[in-house]
């Protein structure tokens, strides 16, 4: 087997066209990684400076009533994932700025895609674009004639005649082409490791990215060699594998993606807002003194503090009302946004099932997931931002209620010392260990594809196909 693999590589190395293309690939991959890293650094600086700017505004707030500060609010800027330079996944589509304020749970807005006319439908020229589209296609071109040309030239008989089994011959050829893919993959991953930021988490993720792409390249190499061995000539082998590639990369992701939304429909924004508003209206209206539920709460507190009127309360009842309102709003948020997030997750699971038919879908899902740029990571950001919003507003409401002011004293203010004491939003991207469970299906399907294509080579090729 090693003899065949070495021989295939010797032939590859002697082919000038392949050598030039390989050099071109290496240069492209390294420069694309480099550009990605530069873009990452730029974007990170902008994001961090925006976050700092907002924080410094907060730290330097003039003395202000805490509730007014809750309306003033804060902003969470979605950070760039470290591996954005490899695969930016959904980051151009999703918004980047989330306003965090009292009473209202906003949505993330200002996506990159909305800031200019339409550009590539397949994403930016990141390594993932080359690794997902270009390199597999090149592997196809290397492999489609690997057996059929041996067949057409009659060399196959000579080879088999030397005592090599069909499987050993075909499998070795697949492996030699797979190694070529691995070689380019190693270049990309090494470039990312040398040029980008590396820590333990990044290393884990990079290792998994390497394995995912390695699995996919294995499938491509084996399947192409299979077609090459199974079909009667070069042209049939090439047209069949190209048709498969087109269906996998162009057709199925879109058709399956669109169908998934029909299986698990999301509410329209209008319906969503209306139902949220309706549920929200069942809580306390913090700004409406005639609200009935406010009355009940008031009576509860008067009883608790054993006083007759709000004026006698040692605390500021307005802050209590605001927090009560907030907590009810949080329940509504959990219900409605939670339901949307659950639908997203169901959609993702169903989409991942397309891996049964399409290993490319599994690869794409894994690639953006491992680079921290898929929906799972996006939802993690949104959930943590909401968690922070709740913390921020509670701090302000508690200060309002228990900071020393009395009910109805809206002119009471707190100074910057307090504002500075409120923690800022520091988003930590989840570790892959926390999120790996979301990608088990993708990993399983890719491995199944590896197994199936190996079986195809082992058991579905016989000498009749080869003669």
């Amino acid at each position: 087997m090693l003899t065949i693999i070495l021989n295939e590589w010797k032939i590859l190395v002697r082919n000038r066209a392949i050598v030039y293309i390989t050099i071109l690939f290496i240069l492209s991959l390294v420069s694309v990684v480099w550009m990605g890293v530069v873009q990452n650094i730029n974007q990170k600086e902008i994001q961090q400076s925006a976050q700092k700017h907002i924080r410094s505004q907060w730290d330097n707030l003039k003395p202000m009533n805490p509730h007014r500060a809750a309306h003033y609010g804060s902003y969470a800027f979605k950070p760039i994932s470290i591996l954005n330079s490899l695969d930016d996944g959904i980051s151009a589509i999703t918004g980047n700025v989330l306003k965090l304020e009292g009473h209202v749970q906003n949505e993330i807005v200002y996506s990159e895609a909305s800031q200019a006319i339409s550009l590539s439908k397949f994403g930016k020229l990141k390594s993932s674009l080359l690794l997902q589209y270009m390199i597999p296609l090149f592997l196809i071109f290397l492999a489609y004639s690997s057996i059929s040309s041996e067949k057409e030239s009659g060399r196959l008989k000579l080879l088999v005649f030397q005592g090599v089994s069909f499987f050993k011959l075909i499998f070795s050829k697949s492996i030699s082409i797979w190694f070529y893919g691995l070689f380019l993959l190693t270049i990309t991953i090494s470039a990312q490791t040398f040029l980008g930021v590396v820590n333990q988490e990044v290393l884990y993720r990079i290792a998994l990215i390497f394995l995912s792409y390695a699995c996919y390249y294995y499938v491509i190499a084996c399947l192409t060699t299979y077609f090459s061995a199974y079909l009667k000539d070069n042209t049939s082998a090439l047209s069949s594998i190209l048709a498969t590639w087109i269906i996998w990369t162009i057709f199925l992701p879109r058709i399956w993606g669109n169908s998934v939304e029909k299986f698990y429909p999301l509410p329209s924004r209008q319906d969503f807002k209306a139902t949220m508003k309706e549920d929200r209206s069942k809580g306390i209206d913090g700004h409406n003194p005639t609200d009935e539920r406010r009355e009940k709460l008031k009576n509860r507190y008067l009883k608790e503090y054993n006083v007759d009127s709000l004026k006698q309360l040692p605390i500021n009842f307005d802050g209590i009302v605001m927090q009560e309102d907030e907590e009810y709003g949080n329940l509504v948020w959990d219900k409605h946004f939670g339901s949307n997030y659950a639908i997203y997750k169901s959609q993702k699971k169903l989409y991942q099932l397309s891996g049964i038919l399409n290993p490319f879908a599994s690869l794409q899902s894994l690639s953006m997931g491992l680079c921290g740029n898929d929906m799972v990571h996006h939802l993690d950001f949104l959930e943590k931002a909401e968690k922070y919003r709740r913390y921020l507003i509670k701090e302000l409401n508690d200060k309002h209620a228990f900071g020393g002011s009395k009910t109805g004293n809206w002119k009471w203010t707190v100074d910057e010392t307090f504002f500075k004491s409120v923690e800022g939003f520091n988003y930590r991207s989840p570790s892959i260990y926390e999120k790996i469970v979301h990608y088990i299906r993708d990993i399983f399907f890719l491995m199944t594809w590896m197994f199936v294509t190996t079986l195809l080579l082992r058991f579905n090729i016989n000498k009749n196909n080869l003669l």
Binding site: Q115, I117, R254
Partner: protein, 438 residues
């Protein structure tokens, strides 16, 4: 000429006896239908949503009218937000800015999934408000993209052509009888051209029929006939460009695999790599805008205006809106806080407009950067053209934002004029407002 016509006709036999090509064509037709159907469904969804919003605000108007009647009769006392005051009357005049879908949207969803298409407009609104967010959608699905006609045309048409054309002239070389063909009194150039012509005509007729059918269904012939014909012309040119590229490849090709390899590589470079590279360059040159300028206006600068005294507010208002000098209140010698404070949104709106124009300018700079290189990035040129014809491109939504701004301005003008003229709003005047903002 007759001989070449025969070649074209014989090509039909080649085509009809290739199950691979016929299956591909059927898939392509299904993709076109699926794409147009997606567009058609989105138009319907947008229209339905707009109708539902409109019916929702009708009931609000009815409630307001009853309230006016009861206040006038004296059966209820004026609420906290007194509707006889112009500010609250206008506040309670529902006004939505809609971006009605063009019937041409059936052919391209374009960037429509990136933007909202309805917005409740108040005097405090801005063109970058949170409620102008896009429809709720799975971001991964958005990132993969929707299979609309534009996608089929731009990306799948060349692939169909590759399947149809890759072995033309190549098969003869593979089987070593190409020389026999060229010795049969036809030139290679014309022989290839005649065979290519068959597929070109087939594809154009097919696209024309499907586009006309969906055009008829969505009503483009009533409203968007020029855009429709522009689209047809664009389709013709786009298909012709690809056929020409593939013709050149086949003319110099050395067999079917060689031709297929060159064709698919060309597709990959023109459709994926070059657009991807420009996408990346434009992000480097024009990074994502976090809109901090806008955020500053919407918080700090707005709060700074709130902090100003009523005197300063009044003088700033007069400075920004000189026609206020001719109002009843302008003639008063005392400062009326209740009048001036209701007009602060006009000052904030001025700030918002200023920052919005900066943001739009920065987006336009990015657009100009992209457009400048269309010659090297032709596929994206065609893609954006189809989006423009379908009114689903960035500019269609910029126009929509301008429309929103014009409604905000109108609201503010009414608030200023009527508040400063101390107009008391009754039912009739409210109806006038409703009609104006409808």
């Amino acid at each position: 000429m007759n001989r070449y016509l025969k070649i074209v006709l014989i090509e039909f036999s080649h085509f009809s006896r290739s199950p691979f090509k016929i299956t591909s064509l059927i898939f392509y037709v299904l993709a076109v239908i699926y794409g147009c159907q997606n567009g058609y469904a989105l138009i319907k969804k947008h229209n339905d949503e707009i109708i539902s919003i409109k019916s929702g605000y009708k009931s609000h108007i009815d409630k307001m009218l009853v309230q006016y009647e009861e206040i006038e009769k004296g059966s209820i006392k004026k609420p906290r937000r007194d509707p006889s005051v112009p500010y609250w009357a206008i506040w309670n005049t529902p006004s939505y800015a809609f971006k009605y879908p063009s019937p041409m949207m059936v052919f391209s969803l374009g960037q429509s999934e990136q933007y909202g298409y309805y917005k409740k407009v108040s005097n405090w609104s801005t063109t970058f408000d949170n409620d102008l967010a896009q429809e709720i959608a799975n971001p991964e699905r958005l990132s993969i993209g929707t299979l609309d006609f534009n996608f089929v045309l731009i990306y799948l048409t060349p692939i169909l052509l590759i399947i149809m054309l890759f072995n033309i002239g190549g098969l003869e070389r593979d089987m070593n009888f190409n020389k026999l063909i060229y010795l049969s009194n036809v030139t290679k150039k014309n022989w290839l051209m005649a065979r290519f012509l068959f597929y070109f005509i087939l594809l154009i007729i097919l696209l024309l029929s499907l586009l006309s059918f969906y055009g008829l269904l969505s009503g483009v012939f009533q409203n968007e006939i020029i855009s429709f014909f522009n689209l047809l012309l664009l389709v013709f040119i786009y298909v012709l460009v690809w056929v020409t590229i593939f013709y050149i490849i086949n003319f110099s090709g050395s067999g079917s695999p060689d031709q297929a390899l060159k064709m698919i590589s060309t597709w990959l470079i023109l459709c994926i790599i070059i657009p991807g590279a420009f996408h990346q360059f434009s992000s480097l040159k024009h990074p994502t805008n976090y809109m901090t300028d806008y955020l500053d206006v919407s918080r700090d600068q707005k709060y700074a205006i709130f902090e100003l005294s009523t005197d300063v507010h009044q003088s700033k208002l007069v400075e920004s809106f000189p026609n206020l000098k001719n109002t009843k209140y302008a003639a008063d010698t005392t400062v009326d806080r209740s009048i001036v404070s209701k007009c602060i949104s006009a000052l904030v709106n001025e700030l918002n407009k200023k920052v919005a124009s900066q943001i739009e300018k920065s987006s336009e700079d990015k657009n100009q950067f992209i457009k400048r290189y269309f010659l090297f990035n032709p596929v994206i040129y065609f893609q954006n053209k189809v989006n423009a014809f379908s009114k689903t491109d960035y500019y269609a939504y910029r126009d929509y934002r301008q429309h929103i701004q014009s409604i905000i301005d109108k609201k503010i003008n009414f608030i200023l004029e009527d508040t400063w003229n101390k107009v008391i709003i009754k039912k009739e005047k409210y109806i006038q407002y409703v009609e104006i903002f409808e």
